[in-house]
């Protein structure tokens, strides 16, 4: 798979970094001339994945969140968001809409939103080792959109 461009970053799993993380990925993807809708889709998906790291992966401390972002063939933005936190015992259950282990004000819609706002997501996780969410979003060429 040809990688046309890439960047990576890591930051402490602090909620203050949620805006920075989605903004950084959106700025990187902006080179593909996305529509406002496509940028919002990317920002939302990244925000959900990073929030999951902060809220779920590192319950008892502040670990690191890692983002590896690539532009691959066909103007697809591939975003890997990784933590080295507690891991997810049952990924299928975690991805069910409205399922949340913490309740309260969390809607339990993180994965459902990521699925709706991206073309594909992949989740791999190992209990005690961490979780990686990979999000794929194709940026459509403008000439096709505008006819």
């Amino acid at each position: 798979m040809q990688v046309k461009n890439k960047f990576s970053l890591s930051f402490p799993a602090l909620s203050a970094n949620e805006g920075f993380a989605r903004g950084a990925v959106a700025a990187f993807a902006a080179g593909l001339d996305p529509t406002l809708e496509e940028i919002n889709d990317i920002k939302t998906s990244v925000s959900e994945a990073v929030t999951n790291c902060i809220v779920h992966a590192y319950k008892s401390g502040v670990g690191q969140v890692y983002i590896y972002c690539e532009i691959i063939e066909d103007d697809v933005v591939k975003i890997r968001i990784k933590d080295k936190g507690c891991g997810i015992p049952d990924i299928k259950q975690a991805m069910e809409p409205l399922y949340s282990t913490i309740g309260g004000e969390r809607a339990g819609l993180g994965f459902a939103v990521m699925q709706s706002f991206s073309d594909k997501i992949r989740v791999s996780s190992k209990v005690g080792k961490g979780t990686t969410v990979t999000i794929y979003k194709k940026i459509m060429p403008r000439y096709r959109i505008n006819g």
């Binding site: 919002n40 939302t44 809607a107 993180g110 709706s116 505008n146």
Partner: protein, 110 residues
């Protein structure tokens, strides 16, 4: 992020500006709940006209306010959602617990 709150009769009107994410949702929630606890409104209007970004924390915000206000017989209305916020609210099925304005017509993605 800011919340402007005004109370007209039995309607509590909360106009939210800026970005709603897990980081900002806590202070928005507190501002609305403090006002709702003293005003005890029949209708809570959440105006999203000034919201520039929202993730599922915004859905949690609406669901949480619904839980609180419905205990006292009140209702929640979502006002001025952008096309993007409308899409997010719709995915969550929020219309089962709150009424929502149609998508803002003056805006379009492209």
């Amino acid at each position: 992020m800011s919340v402007k709150i005004s109370n007209k009769g039995e309607v509590l009107y909360c106009s939210i500006s800026g970005e709603i994410d897990h980081h900002s949702a806590g202070s928005i929630r507190k501002a609305i709940d403090d006002a709702a606890n003293s005003a005890m409104p029949n209708l809570l209007v959440l105006d999203f006209a000034g919201v520039t970004f929202m993730d599922s924390s915004g859905i949690g915000l609406v669901m949480g306010r619904y839980r609180n206000i419905s205990k006292q017989g009140g209702k929640v209305h979502i006002s001025n959602p952008s096309p993007y916020i409308h899409k997010l609210m719709h995915i969550s099925g929020i219309e089962r617990i709150a009424t929502m304005d149609p998508v803002r017509e003056e805006e379009s993605y492209r």
